[in-house]
């Protein structure tokens, strides 16, 4: 699918709206569901990766420095990472326009 969902016209859709190319769920920006975003206090982070393990959307990845951060294109702001964090270094803060 070359076009994004918002650009597709009814003529672009395949018969019966089947999806013929694999893996295009990665185009789906679940990040726009988010009302709270995770922020990390690196001074308290022990780089254990428990947030990475628990993220239900696999939106958290490891940085070159060994810390973990959320990809805000996908992060829905569910707060599970903050809940599971051993050192309470993740805070959920309100998204503000």
């Amino acid at each position: 699918m070359a076009k994004s969902e918002d650009e597709l016209t009814w003529r672009d859709l395949e018969v019966g709206c089947v999806i013929s190319d694999a893996g295009n769920a990665c185009q789906y920006k679940t990040g726009d569901w988010r009302s709270m975003r995770p922020t990390v206090d690196k001074s308290r982070c022990i780089r254990c990766g428990v947030c990475y393990l628990f993220c239900p959307d696999m939106a958290i990845h490891k940085t070159d420095e060994g810390y973990f951060e959320a990809d805000l294109y996908y992060c829905k702001g569910c707060g599970i990472c903050a809940q599971e964090c051993f050192t309470r270094c993740i805070d959920m803060v309100a998204e503000e326009e």
Binding site: W10, G16, I19
Partner: protein, 392 residues
């Protein structure tokens, strides 16, 4: 030329399904559809039809099985009535959205309540807007022909939509009529093997039935509607082709003695034959009466309908179900909408009759004609209707 036989229409319908060489039949028995699926079960059991007969636990499962089997590219048939259609309702809407060319024979029966097993059109009207191609048959020959027709149209890659063939419960399903079977070579000429547009297959995986966010749902619905509208020329072409093979040509709106007619009855299904007797009688009395029989219900044949009513002053539209709290009968409502704004707009007089199998005879149609003549037509409103024969 096919073989002429006297046979119960349900058995003929099942034999037509067999001649179409279906791969999968999933159905749950319900009156008055029963003889059709029973006979198909026998054909499969006795080795006369190589197909999977899946005796599901409910109609909801029947239509779910049909969606699955059609999606893998199997020619698929089901059959139901009334409450059975109501129970499969959720999946009935999904089949056309996925563009799955399933064929269903709907043996029309009234919906509960009160509980009734007899014939009217309340079941089909409950799925009027589901997106299926919907056709009505008037007699056994039309049923037989249209089973094969339904597969051909549904599976046409330019159509790829499910087809619902409506046949009046008992009045057609349980009646023995003379009709002409097709020869196998006629079927071979008419109905090619099923080649689905998309299919579930591991060699080329696709996703059927993905969800659609607000950003795409409108486009998906528009595409589905365009597909149903685009099916009409294919339906017309296929009727012509079937006519070349069988010598019987069908049209979306059939006409009977409409020459110079000032008053036209409008019917759907088997009552067309009864009304034709009343029209004959009225003609013999010098009345300019005629009859239109709606064969294609979805997509609605606006153009052919408007053409057919040219010159008529009055339409007596017979509805076999009631739209509670609405404009009377669903057929009259559609017809009034089809005529709205036309320069020549005949007055629509709507009678609702024959609910749950109550007999309506040619004399009753004569009486409706008489009553419509006595009406002050200028005072007839869009939402007016008469429940014929109801005891006050």
């Amino acid at each position: 030329m096919g073989k002429r036989v006297g046979i119960e229409i349900s058995i003929a319908a099942a034999d037509a399904v067999q001649m179409a060489d279906v791969d999968v039949i999933a159905a749950y028995p319900i009156t008055p559809q029963t003889h059709i699926v029973e006979h198909l079960a026998e054909l499969v059991n006795n080795g006369h039809l190589t197909a999977e007969f899946i005796p599901v636990e409910s109609e909801h499962s029947a239509m779910s099985v049909c969606c699955g089997s059609s999606a893998v590219g199997a020619r698929t048939f089901t059959c139901t009535s009334s409450q059975g259609l109501a129970l499969m309702n959720e999946i009935v809407f999904i089949a056309p959205a996925l563009r799955l060319p399933i064929v269903m024979v709907l043996a029309n029966r009234s919906l509960s309540g009160p509980l009734s097993i007899w014939n009217d059109h309340s079941d089909v009207m409950s799925v009027r807007d589901s997106g299926w191609i919907q056709i009505f048959a008037e007699n056994g020959q039309e049923v037989f022909d249209h089973v094969l027709f339904a597969f051909r149209v549904a599976e046409n890659p330019k159509v790829s939509l499910p087809v619902m063939l409506n046949i009046d419960g008992f009045i057609l399903t349980h009646v023995i009529e003379p009709l002409e079977y097709w020869d196998p070579e006629m079927v071979e000429r008419f109905l090619p093997p099923f080649e689905p547009v998309n299919r579930l297959h591991p060699d080329q995986p696709v996703t059927f039935g993905a969800f659609g966010m607000p950003g795409i749902y409108t486009e998906a619905r528009k595409a589905q509607n365009e597909a149903l509208l685009a099916a009409k020329p294919e339906i017309l072409r296929t009727w012509r082709e079937m006519g070349e093979i069988t010598g019987r040509t069908y049209r979306p709106v059939e006409t009977y003695r409409t020459e110079e007619a000032e008053v036209l009855f409008v019917t759907m299904g088997s009552i067309g034959e009864t009304v034709s007797l009343a029209v004959d009688e009225l003609r013999s009395q010098g009345q300019a009466a005629g009859l239109l029989k709606m064969r294609l219900w979805r997509p609605f044949p606006f153009e052919e309908f408007r053409q057919a009513v040219q010159g008529a002053q009055r339409l007596i539209v017979i509805d076999r179900s009631l739209s509670f709290g609405g404009p009377g009968g669903p057929v009259a409502g559609e017809i009034r909408a089809a005529l709205y704004g036309e320069t020549h707009m005949p007055v629509v007089v709507n009678f609702i009759c024959g609910l749950a199998g109550r007999d309506v005879t040619p004399d009753d149609y004569m009486e409706m004609y008489r009553r419509s003549q006595e009406m002050d037509l200028a005072a007839v409103k869009q939402e007016d209707y008469i429940m014929y024969g109801v005891r006050e």
